[in-house]
């Protein structure tokens, strides 16, 4: 009953006209980012953080969350209409979605994708509502050693699952941690790795690093012919699916929700894995599996439901334990911290009103996206008609503004350029970027909990193994890191996943 009351209060706070406007703008911008190939959700969310600088914390996070799950919707549109996924999680939708477009059923495919995304997102948010209290209370029992061990597990999972080589993933993770250590040491107050530069005493700007590593390096890595040609939106003969198509989609949506929700809770798993596994489940369990690949509605309903359920479920570890499950969530966590909010169990005790307003806005945002997505499909595809030379110039404009406005300093623009070149080098060396962004955000929290733990134990490292929860978590982390020696296999899809 308490939870219901708090959720209702959250709805009251989220439904002010300002917050509804922020949710609407977030959905709009998120969909645009999802539609545009080349600018992924990680750089997209980081790029738009400056827009929220002068907003109150609730409005800012509502808008950034809406941008985050808006990207999951937007990626579908180009997958269905153009055979070009706007983001990695929608890649599998191209198979049946584009086949449906070719037989004049693009409208039905887009409507089912939008409804499936709404269903998956809403059910996952209900999961967040149900889990928030108990997990939050459990989280309050967690001390510095357990918190450190929990972060070790999160980082181990992402390192183990990212890219093709664990050695390269560990390098990426270590680089992120080292970058996070630049500036004044939080405990002793000593400057570290500042090279005598006063501007580095506060550390390296998180937004400038993310925009450089994910956004600028992506733009720099284009080669001639990489960008799709300008396109025209096909005519949508009918937006409404037939009764039979609704009936065929329902079980696929149910399976997609289960898969996306379950995998969304695991750090390191990306939306692409959920949509791929959902497609696999349709191939195995769907009554019409023989039609998959030829324009079967299940091939759109399942994966699209799964990737949105995944996106919303991935917020559960962030809200309840303070652990980001994916690179985009890590950027979102950075935005929380920038607004003075610490995601995790204390969020529900110290900033309960804000937390519940954000959760309520997730329901509202999913509804807004459902209403926005299909009727405005002509607008979304018209964005793709803008020549790449204009789009790239405008993206560069936003990158510069994004990097500059965090500290109102051109120094951060230089930081962005430097990290853009570093990101390009890492891409060239096939080093995954995801572990870096995660450790960049978690680094200071991880170091603080390690040092607090060792201060409690007066320097005795056995504090991590003598307490049951941290011992189990450390054991789990070690098992994950040494999984290659145990010949444990990871999902093949993760090797080629650009999100990692």
């Amino acid at each position: 009953m308490d939870t219901l009351n708090e959720l209702l209060n959250g709805f009251a706070a989220a439904m002010t006209w300002q917050n509804l406007l922020f949710a609407f703008l977030g959905c709009l911008l998120g969909t645009i980012i999802g539609v545009l190939p080349g600018i992924g959700p990680v750089a997209g969310v980081a790029l738009l953080i400056p827009l929220t600088l002068n907003m109150d914390a609730t409005g800012a996070i509502i808008m950034l969350c809406a941008i985050f799950y808006g990207t999951a919707y937007g990626g579908t549109i180009t997958s269905v209409l153009l055979n070009t996924p706007g983001e990695a999680a929608s890649a599998i939708t191209t198979i049946d979605g584009y086949a449906m477009t070719k037989i004049g059923k693009a409208g039905a495919a887009l409507t089912i994708a939008a409804v499936g995304s709404f269903v998956g997102g809403t059910i996952a948010t209900l999961g967040l509502v149900a889990a928030a209290k108990p997990l939050g209370e459990l989280g309050l029992l967690v001390g510095p050693p357990e918190f450190f061990a929990l972060m070790v597990v999160g980082i181990s999972l992402l390192v183990a699952l990212a890219g093709k080589s664990m050695v390269k993933a560990v390098i990426s993770g270590a680089l992120g941690l080292l970058i996070s250590m630049v500036g004044i040491d939080p405990v002793a107050g000593a400057p570290r790795f500042t090279f005598g530069m006063d501007r580095l005493l506060d550390g390296v700007s998180f937004v400038a690093v993310i925009v450089g590593v994910f956004g600028l390096s992506e733009l720099l890595s284009y080669r001639k012919g990489d960008q799709p040609a300008a396109v025209h939106a096909p005519n949508l003969r009918s937006l409404l699916p037939t009764g039979r198509e609704w009936l065929r989609s329902a079980p696929a949506m149910a399976r997609g929700t289960g898969i996306g929700f379950g995998l969304g809770l695991i750090p390191g798993m990306t939306g692409s894995v959920s949509s791929l596994l959902s497609y696999g489940a349709e191939k195995k369990f769907s009554r019409n599996r023989h039609e998959l690949g030829k324009g079967a509605i299940e091939g759109v309903a399942g994966p699209e439901t799964a990737n949105n359920a995944h996106a919303n479920a991935a917020l559960i570890p962030l809200f309840t334990l303070g652990i980001p499950a994916s690179p985009t969530i890590a950027v979102l966590m950075g935005a929380f911290l920038q607004q003075g909010l610490t995601p995790g169990p204390t969020l529900f005790t110290e900033n309960s009103e804000i937390a519940w307003a954000i959760i309520a806005s997730l329901f509202i945002g999913n509804l807004i996206l459902l209403l926005l997505n299909v009727p405005l499909v002509g607008l979304w595809t018209s964005i793709l008609r803008v020549p790449s030379s204009i789009l790239n110039a405008l993206i560069l404009l936003f990158m510069v503004i994004g990097a500059y406005t965090i500290n109102f300093s051109v120094f951060d623009v230089f930081v962005m350029i430097g990290f853009g070149l570093l990101g390009l080098a890492l891409r060239h060396l096939d080093i995954p970027l995801a572990p870096m962004v995660l450790t960049l955000v978690l680094g200071p929290l991880m170091e603080r909990s390690l040092r607090e733990s060792l201060e409690i134990s007066q320097g005795d490292f056995s504090i991590f193994t003598s307490r049951p929860i941290s011992a189990v978590l450390i054991g789990l982390g070690l098992l994950i890191v040494f999984s290659p020696l145990l010949k444990l296999r990871k999902p093949k899809a993760l090797n080629e996943d650009p999100e990692t």
Partner: protein, 167 residues
Amino acid sequence: MTTESVATKPPSTVRVAPTVLAGIGAFAAVGTYVLVSSVGLGLWTSLGPGPGLFPFAMGAVLVAMALLWLLQELRNPSETAPGIDRGLVVGVVASLVVLAAVMDLLGFQLSMFAFLLYHLKIRGRRTWVSALIIAVAGSFGAFYAFNYGLNVALPVSALPFLNAIGL
């Protein structure tokens, strides 16, 4: 060396790509620098762990992983990565460096106008009309939208005569 030739040669005769070797060397060098600097910061104090402890561990990890990667490459060199468009990289990075260098002096509006015009007209080969319209909107328009719409201040010129006319 093409990917095909890599695939057809026996592993023993395939050499590690120079860019990969440079990358491994760079990570090992950064790791070593961090290891040495961390010792100077202090690994342990009378109160417990010092400011150098965590960086020391990360430096050690970086050096160890660089060595492990080198061993992996010597045993089984990775495929050559596709090249980059150097013209694009130089054009974008140089223009960004110039923009960042002059932004405080000339102000956001003029410097961004020139930056966008370069990318739209010279690099993007747009028509003068479209290049000018987008450059004006992206520089002067963005300045007013951020300053007055979002209350986020973009820089004005440090030169008094430009500052006086709001640029």
